[in-house]
């Protein structure tokens, strides 16, 4: 079989893949130096991101195509990156680059074994950028696993009990979801007779009463399997365990690059299915499944956010709630819904990266904070800090163990941050308001408006009315954290000194975190003022 190749269209995926090889080679030649590996990895990720820009600025009528069968129509191409897919590639590569930058800090949060982890991040980027554009089923499955498996290793590599627990729950859920995906792929092949996620054979399958249930089942099973990667209900349970088990940069990777990948994968599955809106039996069932998963996820995540006391766990449940918002516009089953989902997930990814950078800026956290019930300090406005905190902190410093850095970053540790460290506090506050959808985080508000719009336009407004409840609960959740930021720091323990003593070098905000906070903050402000900067990428 002869394929026509467009190398430029493949560049966003090939560059990180090349990065894997280069970094491995570097590691073999210079085993001691991990810094060059990070720099090379970062450069190749940024190069890949640059390669994705033309596709994102293009038009959806003429997507970047590659691996096309000779003489066939557009849909016979096995690689199709329209503006939305290119924008997602851009986001994935940017998020992976930010993760590497976060890990460059050189403090307790830095990656343990530079080269290996850089390779794993690059591999996840390769898989992620590939899966959003791949159209043939086997490649799509392999790339999806290429995006998933490295994250399991990245969580586990941290090497403590919590990380092992998190990695195990990630691995278990990922295996179950892989089983679902393989089953879904098999059903797709059976129903359409085509190994391409495209319109070939789809209409016949939908028209045939025998094959229609197979097709329906295949799409539903594929979407359910992908719900795992999106942290959507009912496969959300791994999220808090894996986030708190992983180091902060890796948790950020799970929360952003993985979500962008998963959104892209869902859209790849659903794009050909849009054509079936003429067959209401199929379209309505899929919309019902998507809408149901979306609403349960956003309600569940928002409600738990009201009670969580640890910042990373908070972000984990925030991810679950936001995954519902990504899925909601997809229930509209039209192209506008897909664009809205991409716009939403990109906004979410920027804001979430900023939030994780703020957590990383806190430096290595206290141990075991969340189990001890920090809630008292948060629920009670003027309440004193729990007395056990200072000894714990000192003990941690004295022992100097880097064991569970992100375990126990209580929200209370951010108290008074807005005044004590305006860059961290202000940017984090803006990011939280973006996630909540409240001005001045206008881009978050517009993302919610755009997510609701297609759903309402196709007449599913009752779904939107339920989503209103989730909006309100979500606002209450995010404002808990914002309220802690704006609250004055307690007299006894000035927040500027936390988490280390004033003399500790750790008091300085890690440089990587500052870079991500700065770039992310600028992006959030710029897109809030000129939302076209973001939405223009999606076409």
């Amino acid at each position: 079989m002869n394929l026509t190749l467009d190398w430029l269209a493949l560049a966003p995926t090939l560059l990180p893949a090349a990065g894997v090889l280069v970094v491995l080679l570097l590691d073999a030649l210079l085993p001691a130096a991990s810094q060059p590996a990070r720099v090379v990895g970062l450069l190749l990720l940024l190069a890949g991101a640059t390669a994705a820009v033309p596709g994102a600025l293009g038009t959806s009528e003429r997507p970047a195509l590659s691996l096309c069968m000779p003489g066939a129509a557009d849909h016979a191409c096995l690689w199709s990156a329209g503006p939305a897919a290119s924008a997602l590639q851009l986001g994935i590569l940017g998020a992976c680059a930010a993760v590497l930058v976060l890990g460059l800090g050189g403090d307790g949060e830095s990656l343990r074994d530079g080269s290996v982890e850089v390779v794993l991040v690059l591999a996840a980027a390769t898989g992620g950028t590939g899966v959003v554009a791949a159209r043939d089923l086997p490649a799509w499955l392999v790339l999806l696993e290429l995006a998933t498996v490295p994250t399991v290793a990245l969580v586990a590599l941290r090497g403590n009990a919590r990380a092992a627990g998190g990695a195990l729950s990630l691995l278990t859920t990922s295996l179950v979801s892989f089983a679902f995906l393989v089953l879904g792929a098999a059903l797709w092949l059976l129903a359409t007779g085509s190994p391409v996620l495209g319109p070939v054979g789809l209409r016949d399958a939908a028209a045939d009463p025998v094959r229609r249930p197979l097709l329906l089942l295949s799409v539903v099973v594929l979407v359910t399997g992908l719900a795992f990667k999106l942290s959507a209900w009912p496969f959300h349970a791994w999220t808090p365990a894996a986030f708190t088990g992983a180091s902060t940069p890796i948790a950020a990777l799970l929360a952003t690059a993985s979500k962008l990948t998963a959104t892209g994968a869902v859209i790849v599955v659903l794009t050909p299915v849009i054509a079936l809106t003429g067959t209401p039996q199929v379209a309505h069932s899929i919309a019902a499944v998507l809408g149901g998963i979306a609403l349960v996820s956003m309600l569940l995540g928002s409600v738990v956010m009201l009670r969580v006391t640890d910042s990373v766990r908070f972000l984990a449940f925030s991810t679950i709630a936001q995954s519902g918002w990504v899925l909601l516009p997809l229930a509209a089953m039209n192209a506008a819904g897909h664009r809205a989902a991409v716009g939403y997930v990109l906004t979410y990814a920027i804001a979430t990266l900023v939030a994780f950078a703020a957590v990383a800026a806190l430096g290595p956290g206290e141990q075991a904070g969340e189990q001890a019930g920090w809630g008292i300090a948060e629920q009670d406005q003027a309440g004193p800090e729990p007395s056990g905190q200072a000894p714990l902190e000192e003990g941690h410093m004295a022992l100097g163990q880097g064991g569970s850095e992100s375990a126990g970053r209580p929200l209370a540790a951010f108290r008074g941050m807005l005044r004590a460290r305006p860059l961290v506090g202000g940017t984090l506050g803006l990011a939280l308001l973006v996630l909540a959808g409240l001005p001045p985080g206008i881009i978050g508000l517009l993302a919610k408006v755009q997510a609701l719009r297609p759903v309402i336009d196709v007449g599913l407004w009752p779904l939107a009315v339920v989503a209103v409840i989730a909006v309100v609960i979500g606002i209450a959740g995010y404002l808990r954290w914002v309220a802690i930021l704006v609250r004055p720091a307690p007299e006894s323990s000035p927040v500027g000194a936390r988490p280390g003593a004033p003399t500790s070098p750790r008091r300085d905000t890690p440089r990587g975190a500052v870079a991500v906070l700065g770039i992310g903050g600028v992006l959030l402000v710029a897109t809030s003022l000129l939302p076209q900067l973001l939405w223009g990428l999606i076409g």
Partner: protein, 495 residues
């Protein structure tokens, strides 16, 4: 140009003051705040004469435009907002609540002002929603950080209640707006007047219900008012003034602009329900005011009663009813601002404003503040010649002869109920006057009396608001003549 200035100057300066809070001296912040508010006011006056329009593509891919403009319905409210903006920033020169840096406080005041101005100027339904949300976070900071310093838990609760209720309302409104925009294929308010009216009745009804319920939270209309007393009681004086004088008006303005103008047939179906809720609010607010002990809370409940008249006026759907609602808006804005300034000052000095505690007569200890209180109360009970009278009187008249197809018997009953509510207003206003203005005996030694007189900037604010109450009361034509043609055009377009 003028429109950009009037929105951007307070917004940018407010943002700067908030972000750079701790690096700015209080005096500089106060001066900057007053200057920004004055610039905004000047820009409003300028805009009132030049009638400018700003129309930029903001998010072209999705048809969202940055479209600002003024007409007869929004102009009085924009003027009121700019005026109150100047007064609250001037007031902040004499009273800075604890809880955070002064610059943050003044910045939040300016941000609320900017959001309200943008809301009233917005000519695009989605932009209206965005601007509507803009005031939430600064107002939340004002209540939950700068509120009543005595009770932290209640402050947090009041702030949360405010923002969650309002967010619930505005998100319901958003769904209504998106339904409307999706069905009418335009989001320009001017085009929606004709495009919305052409929609099928069922669609109109759904949209009208969503929009009206969403906006009724903000107004607030009984029984969705429960966030208001808590917010007013805890908010600092300037926050209460902004809340009563401006934020509530965003709700009633929205009612006129969106459901009534855009989906007239759907709104006509639910108008009786809105009228009933308004009338119940009048009676309910009045009854609570008869027994409420906290004076700030009492004024908050009287706001519920006054906004009940506004809701009733809107519900009649007639030209007179709308005129009543619009002048009622302005009147309530001035009177409640005056009362909150007077009572907020009392609360700050006395520590609380419990009516059960008989204090030395205000007429003797603080004649200026006492006079302003009496004027505010007289206006609130609807004395002819003062501002509120016109809103209440016209609303009752309009309710007696409702417009269109509205059930006459029901609206006449509502008119009677509203009149009874006005009588309750007399009772509670006189009760307050008796407890506070007449008050108890004044002790002989002056040192035993807490000095509560309004001085300096505060007296300036009180005087300005008193003059406003008198002017609108004596010459209501200053408002009615501006709104008249716009209301006629709105109703004409709707038919």
């Amino acid at each position: 140009m003028a429109l950009m200035v009037l929105v951007l100057v307070p917004a940018v300066l407010g943002g700067l003051l908030v972000t750079a809070g701790r690096f700015i001296q209080p005096q500089d912040a106060q001066r900057a705040g007053v200057a920004a508010a004055l610039v905004a006011l000047a820009a409003v006056v300028w805009a009132a004469f030049t009638d400018p329009v700003v129309d930029w593509a903001w998010l072209p891919d999705l048809g969202l435009r940055l479209h600002l403009g003024l007409d007869g319905i929004s102009l009085p409210l924009v003027l009121l907002t700019a005026l109150i903006g100047v007064l609250v920033t001037v007031h902040a020169c004499s009273e800075l609540p604890p809880g955070g840096s002064p610059a943050t406080f003044i910045g939040c005041l300016l941000l609320v002002e900017a959001g309200a101005l943008a809301t009233f100027c917005a000519r695009d339904a989605v932009l209206f929603f965005v601007a509507f949300e803009l005031v939430l976070v600064p107002m939340w900071v004002l209540i939950s950080r700068f509120g009543d310093p005595h009770d932290a838990r209640r402050r947090t609760e009041a702030g949360h209640r405010f923002i969650l209720y309002t967010a619930l309302g505005s998100t319901l409104m958003l769904i209504g707006i998106l339904l409307l925009v999706g069905a009418a294929h335009t989001s320009q308010l001017d085009e929606l007047v004709s495009a919305g009216a052409a929609l099928p009745a069922r669609t109109q009804l759904t949209i009208a219900v969503l929009l009206t319920v969403g906006l009724a939270v903000k107004v607030p209309v009984f029984p969705l008012h429960t966030w208001l007393p808590a917010a007013h009681t805890t908010a600092p004086t300037a926050g209460s003034v902004l809340l009563a004088a401006i934020l509530l008006k965003m709700g009633s303005y929205g009612l006129v602009r969106l459901p009534l103008a855009s989906v007239p047939d759907g709104f006509a179906v639910i108008a009786p329900a809105l009228g009933i809720a308004g009338a119940v609010g009048i009676i309910w607010g009045g009854l609570i005011c008869l027994v409420e002990r906290d004076l700030k809370r009492l004024i908050a409940y009287s706001s519920v009663a006054h906004m009940g008249f506004v809701a009733l006026g809107v519900a009649t759907g007639s030209q007179l009813g709308l005129q009543a609602a619009l002048i009622g808006n302005i009147a309530h804005g001035l009177v409640s601002a005056l009362l909150f300034v007077v009572v907020g000052g009392l609360k700050q000095r006395w520590g609380d404003v419990d009516l059960a505690v008989l204090r030395p007569a205000l007429r003797d200890t603080a004649p200026h503040r006492g006079f302003a209180l009496l004027l505010g109360l007289a206006a609130a009970l609807g004395v002819p010649g003062l501002a509120v009278f016109w809103g209440e009187f016209l609303a009752i008249v309009a309710s007696w002869t409702p417009g269109g197809e509205q059930p006459v018997a029901l609206f006449r009953t509502l008119a009677v109920l509203a009149a009874l509510g006005a009588v309750l207003g007399v009772a509670y206003c006189l009760r307050v006057a008796g407890r506070v203005w007449v008050g108890g005996p004044v002790p002989d030694e002056p040192s035993a009396v807490v000095d509560v007189e309004a001085r300096g900037a505060e007296r300036l604010v009180v005087t300005a608001l008193s003059v406003g109450v008198l002017v609108v009361g004596i010459v209501p034509a200053v408002v009615l003549d501006v709104t008249g043609p716009a209301v006629a055009a709105l109703l004409g377009g709707a038919q």
